[in-house]
Structure formats: structure tokens, C-alpha cells
Symmetry: C4
Subunit: 395 residues, 4 copies
């Protein structure tokens, strides 16, 4: 704790450096810098969402609208943000969310983010759509990995990916169920964003305006999803829109480790997934990138918790930009939060160190929020910390 | 379905063309282009609404505020958006709404929109106030038509219009009941919009700034409502403000096909119209063009459904700009949505092909929304897909 | 009614004139023009409100937020907006609200507004603080007048004013009870607004920029309240902050005609005023010019109606800018609406004819709103026309 | 009262002076002027709050959203804003809130604010973090003082501070419990704000642009917290994050005068603090400077009042910018309001006289609000003055 106070003190003493990652003090600042470093189409691919982005905005705004009732006079000399997720201890209640084609944000892509997560003592969830193969990611880090699976038309691909994930010592499988088709990302369409990118006059101009990114990308960048063959369009062709609960049973049979089902908002679906053997549910709307008009994740979280909290873990995804957002989701009952865009902003700014900085910021904010809220350990959070919940119970 | 996936894939592969309708990917983009192609007074006539446009805005905003709870792991390999309306099969749950003086938006007016609807496998509702006669519209397409009727002082006109509608094989009569007088469209007043338009210096200047529209309009345009004699002002004179429930009985007696009553927001009126023989109710506030201050249609829809859903179809009109809006209205219980302004924006941009593009966009968005919401057929939608409705039932 | 339709038709046929009052089609347009005709300090005196103007804004916004459920198929060939107020027939349910120092807006001040009200078949409420004496106003018009009374320290002044009001054939006395002190009008303070105005460099510059207003004001304008001696500052000195319920009893004893109590928001006060002999209550917060933070009048109206509707009339004041606002207040249960700023905007634009135009606009909008809402007479309005009220009763 | 009316009158007669504090008529105007007088980093230190400043904004906005139901016809000839706090009579229900490093806003810092409070007949709460020692503050004024205590790691410091506070005749001890660590003030970080400030090029430039402030500060300014050794960073190191309820008991034992606990939002904590011997609770979120995301104080106030109003006083802190805000907090049940930023804005503008002007504005606004609300004495306020509260009781 004295270390944390020292950090507080240094924050006050230190003039922000002209360079260096330490001068970025919030995810918003990382995002702003990322916007100026990464070519627009690549930034928008990571930052954007479906259609009018109503759901993506609601994720953030509904979280911000929740109000905390802090508790004073609790010894917060030691703040314990460590927890376990599916039995595995992690240093903080945040996981690296699976993101596809991460090398478009920074040429080191998932390698960098996975290392940053390991350094932070937490799990990285490698995506089926990653720019680097699961073997490359495993080679880059000894940290704990989970594997996110899209089940495609050819079930052999899924079986193969599960085998590779097992061999890469992935400790859990995260089955994404909200992508029977790709959402309509209008920024991408307007940007003429394609995978692999075409060499067009506009692309060259964009590259010249972002020379650091472009040089690195030309030397070492990855264009498509490395676990698969072909680009995003091929992937869109191979998505299996007929995926059903039977396939969940099949996956459950194929994978003998812990199974997480990601992309659930409806309580009945959460219950069914748990009955079919899922150990955890990720309440997620894919960051607002799939169905625009879907409920914000924080508005759907209580219903899912009511349905399955006794029998499974509930993980939260969507809109986390501050440590206090993590506190709120955990106070409602989530076990951990998935961190997606925040890590990408950090990655864009400084590769592995930038991604690590993003986690450091969120962890620091969470610790500070817990200390100020009078909660010395994330495990003690409950809904008595939230104004409206408290009033409901009293009312 | 694979065709749809291919479309998704092509969307990702294809750079938006420098021209061609395919590059318009949303109704908002069509509207923006329409605004720059059509002279201001004509654009405002189509786009505008009454007074402060509170109701027109509420139509759109109240729809956007509804939140969907998507259901995963449902086989959405085939999405069936076909339905029936009054017993007639249609390819998608959207009808071409009746709009008056459509040739002011594009010289081909209703001919183009009717053909686009037919091509899309759905019904076009020709307006009493159309720029082309019902006979001309019928000659332009073999597609299914309905006829929208204003009953004017001289009941002979209505009887004559019904006869002509029958002869033109219109399958249903849509009696509009929300126009005992014309609403106050302040944009039109400020634009000095008159029917027929006057040749003023300002009109000439506007024409020179929109040469494509102006040339076509001068060669082939229509000024007034073709089914009637005289312009909008004459129409305003002939509207019958004394229209009453007795007239509905009279119309019911004169027209032996299906009867739809359009312009109902109050549950009691819906019930009465059904008791007097209407087969369907269109919940509509005339797109906010009549009474500014009227409830948004989505806020009035549940009350009307409670009143008559067992005995009649309920159609929804007002504020639909996205496929997800259709999903929401149908999840509440509407059978189909009427598409008005969206078709006019498409028409303005590309005549028949533009109107067809508007329907193609909405249909594609609806299919995608259904797939992402886990509903393989529009017929299965119910209120369990809506967050607040779900919470109400649980609460 | 055919006359009204003819007006609708003419609206469509007629290009708005380059000049003439007919081209102003809404109160907002009159306000915009007034802002450019009247020197800023004088405009702000009329247009502004207390402090942050929270209450003034809430008056308008809370009215706009109410939603109407229109009723179709009702014979609205004749719209009857006539009503009675305290037994007196008036041509429309709007009264000219008492406004002080009206000559600052236009040199003819209350003379012009009173004539406009008479022409419109309704009552004008002359203010104690009027720029013209009650005798001058009576000389200017034969129309029905009420007199608004401030009771000042010297009760003799009030007794004298009541005598003069009686002699001027004022039919009712409106006792304003919300002004024990003057509200803090920050625009006035920032403008250096004083009564009488000082001749400063800034005033001269303002005058030169608004020459029409200035010339007329110099020739014929009135500076202070004519019924009293001294200016606004003297008035502020003479206000009696100790006014109490006992004074209401005293006034009740002195005045044997109908008594209206203006400036009530709390149900208990409405009840007490009626018990002490008031025939009507005006729900008013002085247009937001007194206590900033006071409830909007439309939010307070239902409570007052519940308390006294069986025993007295309830009049509505505050935020009326559209005919539909009148419809809403009457649907909740108000008998008439007071029209203040709207009349001043009209007055500023065109003197008596401008004030008359403001009433003409509001009356026309009300008739149109009633027709479109399916209510042929204001007397038939009730809360079934309002969405939320309807839902409450159903819920 | 006649004096107040005279003030009203003078306000109307007097053109705002080109200089002089009288021309500042609202806290917002003082803030605007302060922003232009004080170097940005110093202004932001006082004006800013934690992270996204959600809580700071909510404090202000939630107060503004409360609606008052004024009561007319009550004798408000004399408005009594005097009250007692912990038994001590004060001239108005506002206390000078403890603020740290006040000399950064104006070189006379707490000396000036304490004198202004004394002049206004109320209490000033000197902060542990004040720029001047408690002995210096006591030497500057004979007015009533309280002392705000931070308990640091070295309990000897707290014991010493309590002794000094007692010797300086501080009448109560205000134990702040919401600062186990310092909140994250992002404006400060971005400004490179440090204590003591560094002499950098930017600082010199800032100083040259604010020469009045800079000259005075160089001659007489204080850099660090005078009661302690070291700057803000050292303070951050010495804060005791392990402060707990046991320490409250210890303080209760050490201090035999009245004890106030500041920084409570949760009802259970209020109850516990009272059980442990606190005479008053300050509902405070540290002006939004600690936990961003904490509930606004006005939203938390009712819960705390329900918990302890029978056994202790409840003081209100956060967001007060208008006299009507004080009325609202008192109507809910608070005894007094703490005034922080408003005093600093005044101080920045005119030192002691400026701080006095801020209190004069708030007192004048409160008196006016009470008069217009029909409440002649703050002691009579209750929740019947608030619209929603009234409706709740009726509903």
C-alpha cells in the first residue's frame, strides 16, 4: 500500500514527461493518442461499432450512470484486487478480451497484448481471428491463456482449433455465440476497409501520414487471421449461421476443460448454457459491434446474475473505460471484466508496453476506487455499494 | 443464407464504388444524398413535419430507445422475413406507405416506387394524392397494390375512387382518418411551397442549382394530384372535416374487400374501427405531419395491440429508419411496417432503382438484425426480445 | 369551418409576403423578429426570467413533453373554442396576461394589447404595473377587462386601485400573490436595465441600432408604471412582503366582484384561497420570473386541480407557445390559459396588429390541434386525450 | 426587511459599476472572473474534480433538478436565516468549508476566507491542509472556527493538531473520512500541477499572463500546507489508508468538544458514526474530488437523514451555487450547507472582500428564495416545499 501512496505522491511531484507512457493517465488519453497514430481505417476497425453505434454508446453511458455509495473508515491500507476466475488465481479482475486482427492496430498484435496481460498477472483470451496463431502467442509468453472459439461450417476446423488450443495450454475455451453473421460496421464500409487491405492511392496517403505505424506494418505486419486461411471476407463466408444449442453440446463434449459462453444477454440463455455445462457466462454484446439496438451489457447483467449466479461465474464485457466501471460491474455480481478496446488503445500507442500501461491504469484506478469506496478486496463488493440498489432494497 | 453470407463477404471485399447505388449503405446516407439532389422546397415537403416536428422526432427517438435482448445459438441459417398481410403473402414485413405528390421528389414518382415494391415482393399503397393516377400506377406494375382513400366532401369522388381502385385490382382499401384538416408544415410555409409551384426567381435559382432534378421535372414532371383536379390548396378545400364513424360504416358498405384504417393511436378508436369491420389498424401519426404533440407511434402501439390484437392486424407506421426498428415494432406485436420517407429518399437518389435500394437496405438490415437476435422468422418475434418488456414480466 | 379550410388553402397558395404580419406563422417567428426590433435591455426585460431561468425553461419543456392521443372520425367541421370564464363568454380559452411596463416593448403598450384582446373576443388583464393607467386602457377599448392587483404597503393605494378598476368596469380582480419581493432577473442586472432608463452612451447606441423603436419611444413612450408614482425601484420599495392570508380576506371584503388568485402552485394554498372566497386560481410561477427553481406550472397543475376543481376554476399560466399547449392544459383540466410573452412578441413586431396576430396564430393553432385531435369543442377536452394519463388509468 | 427591499430597489436603479465587487451578482459570475485572474493550474486545482468529473457535475445538476412548490401569502417581511449549528447561533445556514492550500487561489488564503465568514456571522472550518496555520488563522479573526482533521499515519500529528485546534479555540472538530488516499484529479495531472510548484518556462508564462496574482503570490504567497511539513506529495505519503472506525473512537476519546464526521453518503455509516459519538454528519463526496462515480450528495441526503436525523445534525456539502440550493437541502432536512468552491471563486476575485461578496450573494439569494417560497425562517422548511416529495406523500 505504501507503494501505492508513493505512486500517488509521485503523480503529484512529477511533471508529465514529454514522452514515455507514464504521461498517459487515462484510457481516454490513450485513445486520443491512438487515433493520431493509427491509420483511420485501422483505428475505426478497432474503435467502431455496428450501424449507429447506439449499443456501443449505451454500454459506456449506462455504466457511467450507476452511482456508488462509498464506505469510509475501512482499513484500505492493503487493497486486494486479486481474485480467481474458474478456480485460477489472477492478479486483478480483468481479462484481456479476445480481439481479432489485432496486428492492424500495432504490428505486434496479440503477442504484445498477451505479454502485457501475463506481466499484469492475468489471462489473455486469444481469438480465433487473431493476427498471430495460438502457437505463436503461446511461444511469446508463459502467461495464462484462454482460447476464444468461433465454430465455423467445417466442424473439423473447430475440432482442430480446440486441439491446438489444448496443446498451447489454453486453460479454458470461450465459445462466442453472438456472431452467426458479422455485424454491419458502417465506419468500415465508409472507409473501404478490406481484409487484406488493398494498396490504393488513399491507403498510401494514409500510410504516409502515419509513417511509424506504416513502416512497422510493412516490415512485420500481419494482414489476415493467422489461425485460418483467408481474410475477413473468407471468414464471413465460413461463419456458421446455423450454430445452435446442439453445437454447444458438441463443443462441451469435445473440450474437457472449463467452458465459457460469451455473448449472452438473456437470462434464459444463460441458464440453458449453464445447464449444458458452461462454467461461466460472459455478458457481452460484442462491444456493440454486432446487433445495434441490443441492450447495454450493464442493463442486462442483473437479469443474467439472477438466473445463474448460484451455478456459474458471470463475466462482464462492454464499455469498461475506468476502474470504477469494474467496481460497478463487480458490485452487481460479475466476477471479472473483459478489457477489449482499452487494451487496443494502449497497444496502438506503445505496443506491449502500451497495452501494459492500459492495464496498469485500469488496475490503479480500480485500486483507488476500491480504497475510496472503502472496500479492501474485490471479493467483498456487493450491491450495497450502489445507490439505486440500496434504495430498492430499502424501498 | 449462403447468399447473405456472400453479401456480407462482398461488403468487406468491395471498395464502395465511386458511383452506383450499392455504395449507399443506410437510409441516413440516402437521405443525405437526397438533400443535395432535390430542390429544398421539394425535399422539405417530403422530409418535414408539422410545427416544431416534436412528434416526428419522437417517432424516431422512441424507437431507438427500445433495447433488444438477442438470443444466441438459434439456427439462423435461413432467415424468413416473409409474412402475410390480410392473408396475402409478401416477401418482407414492410409495405410502401402512401405518399402524396411523390413526383415532386423524382419525376417518376409513384410509378417508380410501386415498381420497386413489386420487385421486392411487397405491396405498394397508392395514395389518393398521388402524382400519377391509380390507372397509371397499375399500368406500370403487376405488383400488388392497395389504395389509400381520403373521403372528401363530395362522397361521389370517394365512390368513384373506390370503383377505380377496384378496377385497378387494388387488394385492400386504406382509409386515412387523421386528416380532417391539413397539418401545419412550417418548412413548407417558410419555403413558400405551393402546389402547383410558382415560377419565381427563387425557384429558377433552386432549379439551376439542382439541374438533374430540374431537367427531368421540366420534361416529365407532374405538379398536382393526378386522381383529382386541382392542387394541394384545392385538396385542402375539399377535405371533409366532418368525416365521422358513420362515414367509416358507409365506406365499409361501399368497399367489399379488406379495409384498413390508418391514423389511429387511441385504443378505443382501434376497437371501434374493428367492430365496424376494419381488418387492420395502422398505428400512425402521419409521420408527425398532422398533429405536432401527438404521441410517438411506438409509444401508442402497445395500447392499440392490447385493444384489438385478437381481432385484427395492427400495422405500424412512423420513424422506421433501420431494420432493427422493424424488429422492435414486430416484437411488440405489429404485423408489418409502412415505409414512407425511407422510400422517398431512395427515390430521390435513383428513381425506381433508388427506391429498390432503400427496400434492399431495410430488408438486409432486418435479416441481419433477426440473425443477430436469434430469430429465424419474423413470425416468431414476441416481446421477450425486448429488455423492458422482459423486465416488466419478471418484475 | 369552410373558412378555416379556405385559410388552410390560402396558406398553401400564398407565397409569404415580403412584409405584413401574415408572414409570421408561429410565436417563435414573432419572438425572433421582436429580438431584432426592440433594444436588447427592453427585449430581455420581457423575454427573460429569474437567475438561471430553470423554471422558465421547465415551463416550456414540460409542456412540450406531454403527448396527445388524437381521436379520429369525429366531426370537426365546426370547432368551438369559445368558453366561459367566471361566467363570462369569451371567444377563445386564452386571456391576455397582465404584464408590467408593456410600453417598453412597444410605445402603445397595454392600449394595443387590450385592443387586440377585445378584437379577438377575449379579456385583457390590466396590470397594476401597466405603462398606461387603467382609465387610459378603458378609454382605448370597450372590450372586457380584468384588473391585476399588487397590494402594497399603503393599503390605501390598493383600495384606490380597486375603486378605479371598478369604475373602469373591470369585471374581475386578479390578486397576484407570488411577488412579496421582486425576483432576481439577471439579464436585467447585466444589461444595466433601470426604470426609468438612464440616458447612457450604451443606451444611445442601442437606440441608434433600433431606430424605429427608438423614434416612436421618444415621441410617445412611457417610462414608468402609470397607475403609480415612481419607477420599478420605487415599486420594489413599496411591495408589501408581509402580505398574508388576512390580506386576501381584506381584499375579498373590499372587492365585491369575482376574485382570482394568481401565483399558486401548492394544492393546499389553492384550497385555502377558494375557502376564503376566490372564484378562480391561476396556476402560475410568474413565467419563471420570481423563484427560479419553482416547479413548472404544468407539473403543478394536476395537484391544484385535484384540490379545488370542484369548487373553483383553475386557470393556467406559463410556457404557452403553441395552440397544442393550450389543448394540453385544458385536457388536464384548466379552464383557460393566460398569454403573456407571446402577446409581447407580437406587440413588439407590430403594435396592436402584431398582438392581434399572436392571438390569431394561437387561436388558429388551437383550432387546428382540436380538429386533428378530434375534439370539436374545448369544453369536451379531458385527460383521455393525454397518453400518460390514459396509461395511468389503464395501468 | 425594508433594507432588503431597498437592496432590491438599488439593484434596479444602479447601473453595474465598471469595477467593484457589487457588480458580481452570482457565483457563476465570480467563477468566470476567477478563471481569468488565477493561473490555470491554480484555478483548476480549486475548480476541478476527480477523473471525468461525473460526480462533481451530478452534485450541481441533481440540485438543479429539484423543484420547489412556493407558498404565497405568508408574511415574509422578516426573513430569518439565522440558525444554530451544534448549539451555536450563526447568522445564516452556511459554513465556510475546509479547503486546502487556499493561498494558491489568493495569497491571503484562509486568512481572508475566515475573516469573510466571521464578518458574515458564521463559522469557518480551517483545514489541516490550509496554507496558513491554525494559529495564524485564529490571529486573523475572532470569529468562530472549527478545525478539519486528517488523521495521518503518525497519530502524534493528529493529537498535536487537536491540541493546537483546542488552543486556537476551535469549537468543533470535523473529521474527514473520505480521504484514505487522494483522488485522481486529471486536470492537475495534465497541468503538471505540483506542490510546491516548480519554476518552469510554462509557469513563468502563466505568471506573466496573470501579473496581479503572480506579483502578490511572489511577495506573500504560501506554497505548502502550513500546519504540516512538506507539500501535497508528502501529504499523499502520510495519509493513513488504514484509518478505521477504531480511529474514530480514538479521536472521539481525544477530543472532548463536538465532533463532526465529514464524507459520509451511506446511511449505515451515518448511524455508526453517531453511535460512536458524532454530533453531526456532513453528507459530502468531497466536491466530487475523491471517488468519481460516487452518488451526488443531494441524492444521498435523504437516506442519511432517515438514518440519523433524530439523533444528530446532518450538514450538506457539494454543488451549492445558488441560494435556492440551500433552500432545497434544508427542505430535505439538512441543518446547514458547507460552501467551498463558491468562496474560492470570490476569494480569487477580491480576497477577503471577494469571499465576503460570495457569502453576501448566497445569503441574499437564500433570503430572496425564502421570501418567494413563503418561508420566513429557515427553521420552518420541510419537504412539503418540494414537488416530488409532496407528490410522493400524496401518491
Amino acid at each position: 500500500m505504501r507503494g501505492q501512496l508513493r505512486a500517488d505522491a509521485q503523480r503529484l511531484l512529477r511533471r508529465p514527461a514529454g514522452d514515455g507512457l507514464a504521461r498517459f493517465g487515462s484510457i481516454a488519453e490513450l485513445r486520443e493518442r491512438a487515433r493520431r497514430r493509427v491509420p483511420r481505417p485501422m483505428f475505426d476497425f478497432a474503435d467502431g461499432a455496428a450501424q449507429d453505434e447506439l449499443t456501443a454508446r449505451a454500454n459506456v453511458e449506462d455504466l457511467a450512470a450507476l452511482r456508488i455509495l462509498p464506505r469510509p473508515l475501512v482499513d484500505v491500507g492493503e487493497i486486494d484486487v486479486s481474485t480467481t476466475v474458474l478456480g485460477r488465481p489472477i492478479a486483478m479482475p480483468m481479462l484481456g478480451a479476445p480481439t481479432g486482427l489485432t496486428a492492424l492496430t500495432h504490428h505486434q498484435g496479440e503477442l504484445a497484448v498477451a505479454r502485457a496481460c501475463a506481466r499484469a498477472g492475468t489471462i489473455y483470451i486469444a481469438s480465433t481471428m487473431a493476427s498471430y496463431t495460438i502457437e505463436e502467442i503461446r511461444a511469446a509468453t508463459d502467461g495464462p491463456l484462454w482460447f476464444q472459439l468461433y465454430v465455423m461450417r467445417d466442424r473439423g476446423i473447430a475440432r482442430d482449433l480446440m486441439r491446438r488450443a489444448r496443446e498451447a495450454r489454453c486453460e479454458a475455451l470461450v465459445l462466442t455465440v453472438d456472431t452467426p453473421r458479422l455485424g454491419s460496421r458502417e465506419r468500415d464500409r465508409r472507409n473501404g476497409f478490406t481484409i487484406p487491405p488493398r494498396i490504393t492511392a488513399r491507403a498510401v496517403v494514409e500510410g504516409l501520414r502515419r509513417p511509424t505505424w506504416a513502416r512497422a506494418f510493412v516490415r512485420e505486419g500481419r494482414l489476415g487471421p493467422a489461425n485460418l486461411t483467408g481474410g475477413l471476407a473468407e471468414f464471413a463466408m465460413e461463419i456458421d449461421p446455423s450454430l445452435s444449442w446442439r453445437d454447444l453440446e458438441w463443443v462441451r463434449g469435445e473440450w474437457d476443460g472449463p467452458l465459457v459462453v460469451k455473448g449472452v444477454l438473456h437470462p434464459d440463455d444463460a441458464r440453458r448454457a449453464v445447464e449444458l455445462g458452461a462454467q461461466a457466462i460472459v455478458v457481452s454484446n460484442h462491444g456493440g459491434r454486432q446487433l445495434d439496438g441490443a441492450a447495454s451489457t450493464i442493463s442486462a447483467l442483473p437479469g443474467v446474475l439472477d438466473a445463474v449466479a448460484d451455478d456459474a461465474e458471470v463475466h462482464f464485457d462492454g464499455g469498461v473505460r475506468r476502474g470504477a466501471d469494474v467496481l460497478k460491474a463487480l458490485a452487481l455480481g460479475a466476477r471479472v471484466c473483459l478489457i477489449g478496446r482499452a487494451l487496443l488503445y494502449g497497444l496502438a500507442v506503445g505496443g506491449e508496453a502500451g497495452a501494459a500501461r492500459a492495464l496498469e491504469i485500469l488496475r490503479g484506478e480500480l485500486e483507488l476506487a476500491l480504497a475510496l469506496a472503502g472496500c479492501p478486496a474485490v471479493g467483498r463488493l456487493d450491491s450495497s455499494w450502489l445507490l439505486d440498489r440500496h434504495q430498492e432494497r430499502a424501498g
